[in-house]
């Protein structure tokens, strides 16, 4: 907003830190907004999704293996059709394809069914959350350690499990534990190609004349931990890539364990000691890479990188340097305890005084719109479609750096026009017809700006009033 005055602390709690108020939330936390966020952090298992129907990543990959086996069998029976470039990550993929060959047996698409179930579970978790600070932290870390569902059927099948298995258990735990879980997760090993990286001097490398792929090693340093331009070299990347050769996924025959689970394949592992950031790692086996990850997590550059990204996400595109410094200090002093760092963020005066200039990203906007209107979709497709349209397809960023976290990425002319299209279509399709003036006060509180209040009050119809509320600066910015 163009105003530079201090924001309403209740909206700071609900919008800057949370996923937006449902009717009644504003009034419920008005007496102690910060206390409401701290109470959410203290809730046991607050980040866990309990849904026995959702498969583990290994189970999901086994289904992909079965599907691929069937596909190969079908191909043997008929001439090969040109393969599509990538799995379609949009909701349209759920629709049956037009029948091109009348007799062709239908190939099951378990990865798509699992993906849709995972997305729906994530939507419901976001709608049911308290203020939603923990779900915002989950989305933040999930985007920090981004995977993309259009890389491979395995990523489409496991992106949701990745978030449940490698992100959620640690959002209020230790960064190093999240890091260790992420870098060995099948979704990440697939997304950044480490699954097929082979030590050139390993038995497999010598026999197959195949070798290194440094993709995961580079992004672990650049994106996941130290941050770009923090002092590591090409040699550090190459050596760390050698260290994590053999970090892969158990194949369909299950020779190294449960099919689809993480495996350390010593036949693909580059033997010998390696130097990373001036330190020699002589361990044999998987412990060598785990030791590097422990040191990367404890590195001051990682603390600064994480602190900057958190402050930029929650407070301002150009966060106050003093705040970043304080968060980095909290990280280092607590040995990367993310609950401590999150509480330091809530304790920061800057977080409660900075004007609401940041745009809600499409996920925050879409979820907040559902929460404000008490809509609870029983299918994920409408939300998926909205997210695709707004340029933030769920778990499918264009690259391993995830979606942009600055307002300029989301407030351009086309983006604003599409937000208005969506807000209007959404508001006009609803069945409920509450008074938009009362809804506005329920959701955004009594201090909402005059222009917004007048626009909603003068709306030509109930849905138009709701659309105006959803498009108001107080709803768009946080």
């Amino acid at each position: 907003m163009t105003s530079t005055q201090a924001p309403d602390p209740v909206l700071v709690a609900l919008n800057r830190f949370g996923l937006g108020g449902r009717p009644g939330d504003y009034a419920a936390i008005a007496a102690d907004p910060r206390g409401a966020l701290l109470a959410e952090l203290a809730t046991p298992d607050v980040a866990t999704i309990r849904d026995p129907a959702l498969p583990t990543s290994a189970e999901a990959i086994q289904k992909v293996y079965e599907r691929n086996k069937l596909e190969r069998e079908l191909k043997l029976k008929k001439p090969a059709a040109p393969a599509p470039m990538a799995a379609k990550p949009d909701a349209m993929a759920a629709k049956p394809a037009p029948p091109d060959r009348p007799a062709a047996p239908k190939l099951p698409q378990p990865q798509q069914e699992i993906f849709l179930a995972e997305v729906l579970a994530r939507i419901h978790k976001a709608l049911d959350a308290g203020p939603g600070f923990v779900e915002r932290l989950v989305a933040f870390w999930s985007n920090h350690f981004a995977v993309a569902t259009n890389k491979d059927l395995i990523d489409r099948a496991t992106a949701g499990a990745f978030e449940r298995e490698a992100i959620r258990p640690f959002v209020l735990g230790r960064f190093v534990d999240m890091l260790q879980a992420v870098e060995r997760h099948p979704a990440m090993l697939t997304f950044l190609d480490n699954r097929v990286s082979i030590g050139p001097d390993s038995p497999a490398g010598l026999r197959q004349h195949r070798g290194l792929n440094e993709n995961l090693a580079r992004e672990t340093m650049e994106l996941h931990t130290l941050g770009v331009r923090s002092g590591y070299t090409q040699a550090d990347v190459t050596n760390y890539a050698k260290i994590i050769t053999g970090w892969t996924i158990v194949g369909p025959p299950g020779k190294m364990g449960e099919p689809g689970s993480f495996a350390f394949n010593r036949f693909a592992h580059e033997p010998g000691a390696e130097t990373v950031l001036h330190k020699v790692y002589a361990q044999a086996g998987v412990g060598q890479g785990e030791a590097v990850l422990r040191d990367l997590a404890a590195h001051p550059a990682t603390a600064r990188h994480v602190a900057f990204k958190l402050a930029r996400h929650f407070v301002a595109d150009a966060p106050p340097p003093a705040l970043v410094e304080r968060l980095a200090k909290a990280y280092l002093e607590s040995h990367g305890d993310l609950a401590v760092v999150s509480k330091a963020l809530l304790a920061a005066p800057e977080a409660w005084s900075a004007p609401a200039t940041k745009m809600r990203d499409p996920w925050e906007f879409v979820v907040a719109a559902l929460r404000a209107t008490k809509e609870r979709p029983d299918k994920p497709q409408p939300v998926l479609g909205a997210m695709n349209l707004l340029g933030m397809p769920i778990w499918t960023p264009a690259g391993p750096n995830g979606f942009s976290d600055v307002s300029a990425a989301w407030d351009g002319p086309e983006a604003m026009k599409l937000r208005l299209d969506l807000a209007a279509r959404f508001a006009f399709a609803r069945k409920d017809h509450e008074d938009p003036r009362a809804l506005l006060t329920d959701v955004l509180g009594p201090k909402v700006g005059e222009a917004t209040r007048v626009a909603v009050a003068r709306a030509a119809s109930q849905p138009q009033g709701v659309a105006l509320m959803l498009m108001s600066p107080e709803f768009q910015r946080r």
């Binding site: 770009v228 090409q234 264009a398 750096n401 300029a408 351009g412 086309e414 222009a451 105006l468 108001s472």
Partner: protein, 407 residues
């Protein structure tokens, strides 16, 4: 130095004469007197394009051995398309090849920005921001170039176009831009639009300005009968659709004269393919986009230059997974009726071990910023001083490349 049909022997001949840069500035605002109405488009290829599999130095004796099974060949089932005795084009780019033969397309090889590390995101930031280092500004060089044109200029009046839901950084900045992306929602009623704009006018002019431009551009596109196909993730079709939409807007009398597009997906670490396969599919998408510009721009094609660039190249050796890792030197593509084409512009460094950058990458010998500067100078008459200060700050030593555009 600049040579159009490099060969190892010619390279050896010219070695040591590093001062013989044939680049010069064209620093005058002369085009108001001409009938030309120039268009300029840049396409950012995000992910780092393997220049050696796009435009292959088939005449380099080391190429086939180093680039292994990804190397293009002049024989076999999918022969590369010869551009000159030394270079050949990926067979997926048949339209570009025809343009090249007609003198409407050119290639710049062994090119890079000044950025020398291998981070996509920093590399893209330098490429699009036009700043000497990453993360210095939130504005792009093309936005600042439009801002630097005199207020009465045709280009400055009509504004510039960022294609895509998220405006590419190269087009973001202080100068107002239009936005457009292919999509298929029913239009919102004018009444609601006016009410939202009125609300913003009183409380948030920034959102109001953005929304007004989005609505305006969409109406212009609708008037031209542009189809709104469903958004999908077929990258080849998406490239062509984006180009068709942008071309129609650029062709309109009152439309923008400058546009930026971004195509993702060039990060081919694994199973890259050569004459066929994943990279060839993407190159086919780029080829289709360039052909769409030619078809939909109509007569305006004759005044158009398109520059397709990427943040850096990829390793000369293939990696352990039949792909390539992040590298340095690569290609830039130029297309358009105004391009003085039919040439591969390269100061070829060779692929001998000691000629490679850090013993792994094609060494960059041409600064792609010189190419961009040369096109902006020739198309819009921007002065060398403006280009070196405002558009690409701190680049006085990078002279605009001369002679890229037909007189």
């Amino acid at each position: 130095m600049l040579c159009e049909t490099p060969s190892p022997s010619r390279r050896a001949l010219m070695a040591g004469s590093g001062a013989l840069f044939a680049w010069a500035s064209i620093p005058k605002f002369a085009r108001a007197a001409t009938a030309r109405d120039p268009r300029f488009v840049t396409i950012i290829l995000r992910g780092a394009l393997d220049g050696l599999s796009a435009v292959a130095p088939v005449g380099d004796p080391d190429y086939a051995g180093l680039h292994g099974e990804l190397a293009l060949r002049l024989d076999g089932d999918h022969p590369a398309l010869p551009l000159d005795p030394f270079f050949a084009l990926n067979p997926a780019m048949k339209s570009f090849h025809a343009m090249f033969k007609d003198g409407e397309a050119a290639v710049v090889h062994a090119a890079a920005t000044n950025y020398r590390d291998r981070s996509h995101f920093d590399g893209q930031d330098v490429l699009e921001s036009g700043q000497p280092a990453p993360n210095m500004t939130d504005s792009g060089w093309l936005n600042r170039a439009v801002g630097a044109m005199p207020a009465g200029e045709r280009v400055a009046r009509a504004g510039a176009l960022g294609v895509g839901v998220s405006t590419p950084l190269v087009m973001r900045g202080p100068t107002a831009t239009l936005g457009w992306a292919p999509e298929n929602l029913p239009p919102v009623g004018d009444d609601l639009v006016h009410r939202v704009l009125d609300m913003y006018a009183h409380s948030d002019p920034a959102l109001g300005g953005a929304l007004a431009k989005g609505i305006q551009t969409d109406k212009m596109a609708a008037k031209d009968g542009m189809g709104k196909p469903k958004p999908g993730y077929d990258p080849v079709a998406a490239m062509r659709r984006s180009a068709e939409g942008a071309a129609k807007l650029l062709a309109a009398d009152a439309g923008p004269r400058v546009a930026a597009l971004a195509f993702d997906g060039w990060d081919t670490h694994i199973a890259e393919g050569g004459a066929t396969g994943r990279l060839a599919q993407l190159l086919g998408g780029l080829d289709g986009a360039l052909q769409a510009f030619k078809e939909k721009l109509g007569p305006a094609w004759a005044d158009t230059t398109i520059l397709a660039v990427t943040e850096f190249g990829r390793t000369v050796h293939i990696n352990g997974t039949t792909g390539t890792d992040h590298g340095t030197g690569t290609v830039a593509f130029l297309a358009g009726g105004a391009v003085k084409g039919g040439r591969v512009i390269a100061d070829w460094p060779g692929l001998k071990p000691n000629a490679l950058y850090q013993n792994r990458d094609l060494a960059p010998t041409t600064d792609v910023r010189a190419v961009a500067k040369g096109l902006l100078a020739a198309q819009f008459g921007l002065s060398e001083a403006t280009l070196a200060k405002t558009v690409f700050p701190e680049t006085a030593g990078v002279k605009p490349m001369a002679d890229l555009v037909r007189a």
